[in-house]
Homo-oligomer: 288 residues x 2
């Protein structure tokens, strides 16, 4: 479905487009931001790679575009950045707006199989299929053969799992304070209980980065940053050590870099401080 452009905003020499489109997979209108760097804002006919940034709990596509500072590095490298929303909106499911960590703003990048959320909480299909297909058919300057993915917290979980579930689809992956082992943390357990049927424990593992990494074959170059002052890390919601342990035990840890950043918290002050490193990590693969 074509996009409606609600605003075009000049940013770091390129254009930030505030878009919306009617999505089939999520059964509602979805908003997002698309950053076109100077290299793509012009009509040079040159195609640019695309980095997807998946946001965390309570966020929309606006948080990263306003406070992440990915545009700064993306404009220098010539990379488009897509900032999707984090869930369907307005499906009028009873209780969907009641919790900050479940329902609206908390789609967890899975396809819900359990009623009533199965009627539209299909962020996995939306992010991996419907959204990229729509973008590549509407914006010819985006190179469908060069997609990268990153994300924060719930979105870091999304980035890692979408990458690991779809070998070859994304050329780069990184994460900021990811929920790296959802089946073993309160946030993930609450979400998976709500989105999946009781008898689908296997589904949980299929959306857990620390389980998926065990099955990975081939090279695996991942950059992960986590702040030592991150309260959600301290509370055991992120568990990056479990991901590193699983990567190591499966022999996939050679190029997996977990950087514990002294004193940094879980906020966009943390993300913006390292956004340039993650853009550089993506560029290593997308602009190779």
């Amino acid at each position: 479905m074509a996009f409606t452009t609600k605003a075009t905003i000049a940013s770091f020499g390129g254009k930030l487009l505030k878009l919306s489109h009617q999505a089939k997979s999520t059964n509602c209108e979805m908003g997002l931001n698309l950053y076109l760097p100077p290299q793509a804002a012009s009509d040079s006919g040159k195609k640019v790679p695309v980095l997807f940034y998946l946001a965390g709990l309570t966020c929309t596509g606006d948080n990263g575009a306003e406070k992440g500072f990915f545009q700064h590095g993306a404009s220098q490298k010539g990379m488009a950045v897509v900032y999707p929303d984090t869930s369907p909106r307005g499906l009028n499911i009873e209780g969907e707006d009641e919790a900050y960590d479940f329902g609206s703003g908390a789609g967890f990048y899975v396809n819900a199989t359990k009623e009533p959320y199965s009627k539209g909480y299909n962020m996995y299909t939306y992010i991996t299929e419907e959204l990229p297909n729509a973008l590549f058919s509407s914006f010819k300057q985006l190179d469908s053969s060069r997609m990268g993915i990153t994300g924060h917290s719930m979105g870091g979980h999304g980035a890692l799992t979408l990458f690991l579930k779809n070998p070859g689809m994304y050329k780069s992956v990184s994460a900021f304070a990811p929920i790296a082992n959802p089946i073993n943390c309160p946030w993930g357990q609450k979400a998976f209980k709500g989105y999946f049927e009781e008898d689908q424990q296997q589904k949980w593992k299929e959306h857990d980065a620390s389980e998926l990494v065990k099955q990975w074959k081939g090279p695996l170059d991942i950059l992960i940053d986590v702040g030592t002052g991150d309260n959600f890390y301290k509370q055991g919601q992120l568990l990056p050590e479990n991901f590193m342990k699983a990567a190591k035990e499966s022999g996939n840890d050679k190029d997996v870099k977990l950087r514990m950043q002294p004193d940094y918290d879980h906020s966009y002050y943390f993300i913006s401080s390292f956004a340039e490193d993650h853009i550089a990590h993506a560029a290593k693969h997308l602009l190779a």
Copy 2:
């Protein structure tokens, strides 16, 4: 009066301190953000220069710290950044919270002489005297001999007027979409009518950058950015051409650079896109 540190946040290798203190000039508790770059966050004993960023209408000290992208360049240059609030808060003056462009969030960096605002709307004294004095006595790593000033919109007016009214106090000045001729625009006329007595027309000129620049003696190196897509510019609220004309007529325009930035609006997307240029402009003088 000593500061209360409400939060210490890691940002770009330095620390962002969320501070508050009881201010005499504004007769209330004032909040602000102070960014200490890595060079000052350590106990090296080395002093760093200080850039004051004055925010615009409706803002607090948080907007620039979250969305201005100044920390990125300040951490590289070794420059502290102060993000003050834009007015007193909670003085319980009838109607002070009713308009977005007058009263709270709209102090206009003047000392009000008209009742009831004269009881605390003294942002001129707060920014030029009380705040810097308090900062320099509490934070020994800040170099009181190297202050620079910049700001956005109403804060751009503040930066230009505070610089021009106090020769030698600030070593650098720049502005983003400043209200450059307030006595001739609706925002400025409304504010000055409300803060100054009827018989004090002279006061208006004393707080108008386009009037003050005529009296300037000596070198004047100013960087001003304005977006051509800025609706407030189009509505005649900013009038940067009037400032340039006055600078030219008084022979002060040699190093006054007004850059009209194609398509940029009045938002923090605009500010963040050029924050690095303004940090570099300040560094040219503060780190000379």
